[in-house]
Symmetry: C2
Subunit: 149 residues, 2 copies
DNA sequence: ATATAAGTTAAAGTTTACTTTAAGTCAAGC
DNA sequence: GCTTGACTTAAAGTAAACTTTAACTTATAT
């Protein structure tokens, strides 16, 4: 199977010009050309999926280009690439932890607004939080009272 | 307790000018001033922590400003704020899922390079993947063969 | 044959989120 | 009284990641 740039753009949910930009930046090595036009093949999708991952974890274009450049140099750069992968894996772990923290903050907010809406006013939430010990404790997130807004 | 902009910047690990920028953009409502100078108080840190979360999940400044503006309008905007929070909570869930997917991709890469390094060449990995059934299967990530680079 | 649609490049433009600069204010220490 | 250091504002500058534009090529359908 082979695909035009627009087809790939649609599949990846990006602008075709983004793919051209990536290509110009060295993020899409060895894309076949037919009459000057880019033709994407199955092998390219393997890399596109990894690239997509790298974008998702916010690796800067510059760093992805470094990785690609290393990969093109073959076995001599295996260790460097391995190190990069480990670094990014650690990076992802940290990001997930951050997001999980934020998730808790937002869970609290959900409770906060749910409670305020039920009472009709935000003022009530502080009172409820203050009275917490008299309520079923699991109705209130552990981190209640962190509020503000 | 009250803190200067520089002290807060140090605590939040941002540039003081970033805090001024946030203030100018309406992301830091009701900061006290003494002789024209910003003075941060305990109540401000509650919001700063939430703001920090919102930055972490990549909410654009514009959207955070919307939220702040709603909050300043009081109880009439409770429902809207609740909806925003739910939307962002969903958003975080999606981001975590994406990151977890990427994590798997990187775990595969880790295996890939570890294997290649042991063999001294990348070529070996494909062979090993092809021969997989003859190996201890749990030495190879489930998603082997997704490779490319 | 010719119009259309989809591709091409190089270069300029846009957006977002800061960051830096320049010029000025102000309280504290010498 | 004067320097120093930390703050202030408004405005200009920067960096990253696209996105748009303009001029051009090429395969396909009429």
């Amino acid at each position: 199977m082979s695909y035009s740039i627009q087809e790939v753009a649609d599949m990846m949910n990006v602008n075709a010009s983004t793919l051209r930009y990536y290509d110009a930046e060295g993020l899409l090595p060895d894309i076949k050309r037919v009459n000057g036009k880019r033709v994407f093949e199955d092998k390219d999708f393997k890399w596109l999926r990894v690239l997509n991952c790298m974008k998702n974890i916010h690796m800067p274009v510059k760093k992805i280009r470094e990785y690609v450049a290393l990969a093109q140099q073959g076995d001599a750069t295996l260790q460097k690439r391995y190190d990069m992968i480990l670094e990014q894996k650690k990076n992802i772990e940290d990001q997930i932890k951050e997001l999980q923290n934020c998730y808790k903050e937002f869970e609290y907010k959900e409770w906060y607004y749910k409670t305020a809406l039920a009472a009709g006013t935000e003022k009530a939430v502080e009172n409820i939080a203050l009275e917490a010990p008299t309520l079923e404790i699991d109705q209130i997130p552990e981190n209640y009272g962190k509020g503000g807004f």
